[in-house]
């Protein structure tokens, strides 16, 4: 199945990148696993850690108008020039079919394509009780780590459960506890957020 491009890279560094996509397109959900191919044999994986929609001059004018026609709103949304921006937190890479949870050796370049990972890819990346990539989320400074973890664990947990691995969520939670058990003030809010996922 041919993969659909969800956006192109705007800027990046070793830990993260920002990807822009046309507002008309349905963009990936917060916490989704995405991939950015660097070459034919090398792929960088990341999680959507933030999505922001910037304003432009027209939006500012329209926002102050007493009434805006629905056609104008749709036109602004579909045809605007400012893209929807997504912050992608790098969590690993794949080189010649070997998945690593280390940061990529070099960041992707501008206008590189970003794709949404399939359930199969999500399971492959999170398989084998290997949770090293969780540290990138926990160490991230500019994203809401607790909610990003919760969103990712909800998606990955559902994918793994669909493949018969219902213990995955618990194993991931145990790994988070291991990493943060010495930091009570950080761990407890994260676990409470995970509790919301479980209860959902």
């Amino acid at each position: 199945m041919e993969k659909i491009i969800v956006g192109r890279l705007l800027r990046s560094n070793t830990r993260a990148c920002v990807v822009g996509c046309p507002p008309a397109q349905q963009f990936p959900a917060f916490g989704s696993l995405v991939s950015i191919p660097l070459s034919e044999t090398e792929v960088v994986y990341g999680l959507i850690g933030d999505i922001h929609i910037d304003d432009d001059g027209l939006v500012r004018q329209l926002a102050t108008a007493p009434s805006v026609d629905e056609a104008v709103i749709q036109d602004n949304r579909l045809n605007r020039n400012v893209p929807v921006e997504m912050t992608v937190l790098f969590v690993g890479s794949k080189t010649e079919n070997r998945i690593s949870h280390l940061l990529p050796a070099r960041p992707p370049l501008s206008l590189d394509c970003m794709y949404l990972c399939s359930t199969q890819e999500l399971c492959e990346f999170t398989a084998g009780s290997r949770f090293g990539y969780l540290r990138h989320i926990l160490d991230a400074q500019d994203v809401p780590a607790a909610d990003l973890l919760a969103a990712h664990l909800a998606q990955a947990g559902a994918a793994q459960r669909a493949q018969g691995n219902s213990a995955w969520f618990g194993q991931a939670a145990a790994r988070i506890i291991t990493q943060l058990r010495d930091d009570y003030p950080r761990l407890m809010p994260i676990l409470e957020t995970l509790a919301d996922v479980e209860n959902a």
Partner: protein, 572 residues
């Protein structure tokens, strides 16, 4: 992991500690699966370390995890995962012994065994702990094999199963040879099962026939059948168990009956048997004055060792006659007359006479007893029989102190004599003897210990083949010097802090053991301690019931070579 360690139950791993402050083991199992006193084995590469659990402590990675139950904030499964990683139990292990392991690699193992067989390497034996295991060394609850490795195999000659480990019921043996090589003690508060334990140990000693046993049975418990005070069930006595050919019950006084049964023979003292020093040992009991030794010495000088008692008894107290001047003067057969004649203070002599009246009237002291029953007791012991001296109706402290002191003095003299004869090549080697003393503090307290034969036996009679087995509920009342000589100590529950302190005196790790002793079950749990056991261990004591006697009867009997036994017991 060796074959032996694979059948052990893993309970955690070492996280810290040392020789002085004990080892810390972080438990990987719920704390209820390990109890204070458990026998712990730590597998640390080339060495096994053996120790005893002395404390369990609840710990948390951060105290805040422990302060608030996580289930109040999180769903069950997340709370479980959190508790698993943040709350844990630390086990404190008192290390006692270490043993070199055989190599795990088959080739190295073969070379190791060959070196031992060739005599190039000594066969590893448990050593007192001189080092500590590594970080994260696995800790296990001991298997039956571990218990047997350290405390001996139940089927081996000389080993006697005294009880079982608390959690896993592995049999724990006491080596009877070591038990009798030095004096031993059984301690415990009243009702803690001292008498049952003593019966069992005595049955073991008698069954294995390593030494003769003389029991001073103050309360008539050991010889004949008794009824348990708590269950009302019949408790078999040693003579009932082994028969009169092995165990003889001796009653105090002519015609004595022990709970309606006739003893095998009676112990009657002759006037000649009583020496002034026997009286001096009753100073506290008879409230004798400091003038007593002088008066007794004068009596001995006047009438001789054999006749002083009769002569003094026959003197009349306060008898007077009128002299030629019509003046009242002491009669020639009066105490005062004798005192005046010998230059002894009259008041002191009359006071002593008054106080000895309690002895003059004892029915078991006769001028001419029909037989020398003390000699009969000693002859029986020398021949390998075992004697239970039942005090029958004479259960007072006075009777107990007088008879036990007198008989023990005679035994000491006799065993010293035959040992000296043996050492000068003129006689047979003496039969080892264990004297069992109940209510030992009455004979071995601070005031009396220096004077009685018992303290001499505890201190030095090992050289003369005689040791003590003291039984008491107040070890704190026993003289420190005697306590320090006790090799094996079997301690039941003790409530008093002084008693606990005394029972543990002179032992390594006593601070750690103190709490354990105070938390023993009031019944059927004992702590084995001291020189006679390889390391301290808490055991659930065996039950003294019909099954016990069946086991005794079915145990392997070996025709013992007496000379060999003595050589093993007293190699020096």
């Amino acid at each position: 992991m060796t074959e032996k360690s694979s059948i052990r139950k893993l309970i955690g791993s070492v996280t810290g500690g040392g020789l002085k402050e004990n080892l810390q083991v972080r438990l990987s199992v719920p704390p209820q699966q390990v109890q204070e006193g458990s026998f712990i084995v730590i597998d640390s590469q080339e060495w096994f370390f053996y120790g005893i659990a002395t404390d369990l402590q609840l710990q948390a990675v951060d105290p805040r995890y422990a302060l608030e139950p996580s289930r109040q904030r999180l769903p069950e499964n997340l709370a479980g995962l959190l508790d698993q990683q943040t709350l844990y139990t630390n086990l404190v292990v008192l290390p006692a012994l270490m043993l070199e392991q055989e190599p795990a690699d088959p080739e190295a193992q073969m070379a190791w065994h060959k070196a031992i067989e060739a005599g190039d390497k000594e066969k590893p034996n448990p050593l007192p702990v001189k080092s500590i295991p590594m970080h994260h060394a696995d800790a296990f609850l001991a298997s039956a094999g571990d218990v047997a490795e350290i405390f001996g195999k139940p089927e081996e000659e000389g080993n006697f199963v005294i009880g079982f480990t608390r959690e896993q019921d592995h049999p724990v043996c006491v080596n009877l040879d070591k038990l009798i090589q030095r004096s031993s003690g059984i301690f415990g508060a009243t009702g803690s099962g001292k008498s049952f334990l003593t019966r069992m140990l005595l049955a073991g000693l008698i069954d294995r026939n390593r030494a003769s046993v003389l029991v001073y049975d103050m309360h008539n418990e050991y010889g004949l059948d008794d009824t348990a005070s708590d269950t009302g069930q019949n408790v078999r006595g040693l003579r009932s168990g082994f028969g009169a050919a092995k165990v003889q019950v001796v009653g105090v006084g002519a015609g004595a009956a022990i709970r309606g049964s006739v003893p095998d023979f009676n112990l009657v003292l002759g006037y000649r048997d009583l020496l002034p020093e026997d009286i001096e040992l009753l100073t506290l009991e008879l409230n004798l004055k400091e003038t007593t030794p002088t008066v007794l010495d004068a009596l001995k000088q006047s009438f001789g060792s054999d006749h002083w008692f009769k002569a003094f008894k026959e003197m009349r107290r306060g008898a007077v006659i009128e002299n030629e001047d019509g003046k009242k003067v002491p009669a020639p057969d009066s105490v005062a007359y004798w005192a005046n004649q010998c230059g002894v203070n009259q008041m002191a002599a009359e006071g002593l006479h008054d106080k000895l009246r309690r002895l003059f009237n004892r029915p078991y002291i006769m001028e001419n007893p029909p037989a020398d029953s003390i000699q009969a007791v000693m002859d029986a012991l020398k021949k390998g029989k075992h004697i239970v001296l039942s005090f029958g109706d004479f259960e007072s402290d006075l009777d107990y102190l007088l008879i036990s002191n007198l008989l023990t003095r005679r035994i000491r003299e006799e065993w010293e004599k035959i040992t000296n004869e043996f050492r000068s090549g003129k006689g047979q080697e003496p039969r080892p003897l264990v004297i069992v003393v109940e209510e030992a503090h009455k004979l071995l307290n601070r005031d009396m210990a220096s004077q009685t034969t018992f303290s001499t036996i505890a201190r030095e009679m090992r050289k003369y083949y005689v040791t003590l087995l003291v039984i008491d509920q107040r070890p704190s009342q026993i003289y420190d010097e005697v306590m320090s000589q006790l090799g094996t100590r079997v301690c039941g529950w003790l409530g008093d802090e002084d008693d606990i302190h005394a029972a543990l005196s002179g032992l390594a790790g006593r601070d750690a053991l103190r709490g354990m002793l105070s938390r023993l079950q009031p019944k059927e749990e004992v702590l084995l301690l001291g020189w006679g056991v390889p390391m301290p261990i808490l055991v659930r004591s065996r039950r003294y019931d019909e099954q016990f006697w069946k086991d005794v009867k079915s145990s392997r009997k070996v025709g013992l070579d007496q000379e060999q036994v003595i050589k093993e017991l007293y190699p020096d």
